[in-house]
């Protein structure tokens, strides 16, 4: 691949590795396990692509994002999406200042570096649309004035896949705005034990003459371990990670196969290929490499591709699931195009 940026040196790689390691360690002091989610969060942060986390409540999503924002000294805001939320509650609005009898712009919570859009599927489509438009354009118009969103700007949205009543499912076009959609799993038994041990160590916090039981949020260290400059350096380093022609061939092949799979009605768009490439570069950097390898692709394929594919009705009726299809597509790589894997996974 033609690299416009200079090749990443070992010194650059070590500096970035150090920064990433420090952030990981800080997150690990509060959040147990979830290494993959932390990795996806950092990938999103380094590439400027937004992240949608799908998982049941109680998997430390908010805690994770809080600790990440504090680790790198970034502004953080959280919006709980509900059915009665209005676009102005997110973007901001003009309010009448009665002292001077003029309208004044009051910026909404979207003007932050890290925005947690909790349970995004609970808001009405026009609210979802307002947020997703801002995500895409990275600017907001309030009244007659247009404001740029701060940089870096990253939206981490969450969605509960179980509870579907009173929700508005995001359409494919809007899901496509998220570079990654990561499906959270429950922690392993050993991780869960560690969570319980750590939680039991929390005490009671005296406050305003009274006392409250401490939560993980109360023990978050306020001191950042990385600066915005280090984050920018890491973002630049991602763009200097080498991508070989062979790797691009793998990406093109994989995206093409998603369009030809018999169970898939709508395959991946070229944006999926771009996202795969960007995310793979960031992952390579996080694993101390200055070049991408097929493992990056294999690791990120599900998070990048699955929400961009629509299965056929017949396939869904037969119980075929998207994860199995992505795994089958990955197994079929290396064989002739259009051939299913020799021992492809089914439902």
């Amino acid at each position: 691949m033609t690299q416009t940026a200079p090749v990443l040196t070992n010194a650059d790689l070590k500096t970035t590795e150090k920064f990433i390691q420090a952030v990981r360690e800080r997150v690990a002091t509060v959040v147990v396990g979830q290494d993959v989610v932390v990795e996806r969060l950092l990938i999103s942060l380094f590439t400027g692509g937004h992240l949608l986390l799908q998982g049941v409540p109680g998997l430390a999503k908010t805690l994770l994002i809080s600790v990440l924002s504090k680790s790198i000294d970034l502004d953080f805001a959280r919006i709980q999406f509900t059915i009665d939320l209005l676009p102005s509650d997110i973007l901001g609005s003009e309010v009448l200042d009665q002292r001077i009898n003029e309208f004044r712009v009051r910026k909404g919570p979207i003007f932050t570096n890290l925005l947690l859009a909790d349970e995004i599927n609970r808001a009405a489509p026009k609210v979802q649309g307002a947020l997703l438009e801002a995500m895409q354009e990275r600017k907001v118009t309030i009244g007659n004035e247009t404001f740029r969103l701060p940089a870096p700007f990253l939206v981490i949205a969450t969605q509960n896949p179980v509870e579907q009543s009173g929700t508005f499912e995001l359409p494919e076009a809007q899901l496509d705005r998220f570079m990654l959609v990561h499906r959270l799993d429950y922690p392993s038994p050993s991780e869960e034990r560690e969570i319980l041990v750590r939680n039991s160590a929390l005490g009671v916090q005296r406050q305003d003459g009274g006392a409250v039981v401490q939560t993980e949020f109360d023990v978050l260290s306020k001191e950042p371990v990385g600066s915005t400059d280090q984050l920018i350096a890491a973002m630049e380093a991602v763009h200097r990670v080498h991508v070989s022609e062979t790797f691009i061939e793998h990406v093109v092949d994989l995206v093409n196969r998603s369009r030809k799979h018999p169970a898939v009605e709508l395959g991946c768009s070229p944006r999926a290929g771009i996202a795969l490439l960007k995310a793979s570069r960031a992952r390579a950097l996080m694993h101390g490499r200055h070049y991408t390898v097929p493992e990056d692709l294999f690791s990120l394929a599900e998070d990048v591709m699955l929400h961009r594919m629509r299965l056929k009705y017949e396939a869904i009726a037969e119980g075929v699931n998207g994860r199995a299809i992505v795994a089958e597509l990955l197994r079929s790589l290396g064989g002739a195009a259009g051939e299913p894997a020799k021992n492809g996974a089914s439902a």
Partner: protein
């Protein structure tokens, strides 16, 4: 008596011959362009010769023989007329000694008229031959040109036949050669990958075809693709070549030192057709001369 009879018989014979020759001569007047002859003609006076001829003169006269004849000379003339008509050969003569030709019949040295007639073989009224019909130009070149061209074509054909046969022979030899082990099959592919002469599609297929092969061989079909990759990289047999390929195909500056024999060692006892992923158009062709 007998002698007188013989004299008369000889005279009659001469007359008969003379008459025959005269009638023949009259019947065989020369035509345009054909030579006519007047022989044994005795002309009085000094010797004559042919005057210098004008280019436009329609009669060409030549004295073929001259011999003294008493005080006169005896001549044989040959003439060719370019136009039909009656001519006087005397008009084309002059005295060799430069004295003028006298035509007065009372003068003993007067040169008599020598009339001749030239006929035309053309039909009456036609004075010139037909204008030739326009015809197509002859083909380019002549016999020699055609000969050279035929020689060139023959040599070219020969070269084509020889070259074609050689190529066919080479293709047949390549087709006959079949690797016996997977190591033999992989060697040219890996060598091409090392040399950077393998096509992009072939490189991709080589790398992931090997992954697919080991996944099957080590029964990792139900592992996730990421975990499979991780396990294969650490596997004693699968790992070395996969890791080397990863470095050659993906690093910006691949490592130079390679022990290909050691890398292919695990594949020595495996059948050549163990990787069906390679039985595709991209990788089934011989790769010893593969290009980027």
């Amino acid at each position: 008596m007998s002698r007188r009879f013989n004299t008369w018989r000889g005279m009659w014979l001469c007359i008969a011959i003379a008459l025959t020759s005269l009638s023949t001569a009259a019947a065989q007047l020369p035509s345009v362009g054909m030579p006519g002859r007047v022989t044994e003609l005795v002309l009085p006076g000094s010797e004559v010769e042919v005057r210098a001829r004008d280019a436009k003169d329609p009669l060409v006269l030549r004295i073929t023989r001259v011999a003294p004849h008493g005080s006169a000379f005896r001549y044989d003339f040959e003439y060719v007329a370019l136009e039909a008509g009656k001519y006087d050969l005397r008009d084309a003569l002059r005295r060799r000694d430069g004295t003028p030709i006298v035509t007065d019949p009372g003068d003993p040295n007067a040169l008599p008229s020598i009339p001749v007639e030239v006929t035309s073989v053309l039909a009456p009224g036609i004075v010139k031959p037909h204008v030739p019909e326009p015809q197509a130009l002859p083909r380019f070149g002549a016999y020699r040109t055609w000969l050279v061209a035929a020689g060139v074509v023959w040599l070219a054909g020969l070269a084509l036949v020889l070259f074609g046969l050689r190529k066919k022979h080479a293709a047949m030899a390549a087709a006959r050669w079949k690797p016996r082990t997977l190591a033999e099959r992989l060697r040219p592919l890996v060598e091409s990958a090392l040399a950077g002469t393998l096509e992009r599609e072939q490189r991709a297929q080589l790398e992931l075809g090997l992954v697919a092969f080991w996944r099957r061989k080590l029964a990792m079909e139900h592992e996730s693709p990421v975990r499979t990759m991780s396990l294969l990289r650490d596997h004693a047999q699968a790992g070395p070549l996969l890791k080397s390929l990863e470095a050659w195909l993906h690093m910006p500056t691949p490592p130079a030192d390679v022990d290909l024999k050691a890398l292919l060692e695990p594949y020595r006892d495996m059948p050549a057709d163990a990787i069906p992923e390679f039985d595709t158009a991209a990788l089934s062709a011989p790769h010893s001369s593969g290009g980027r």
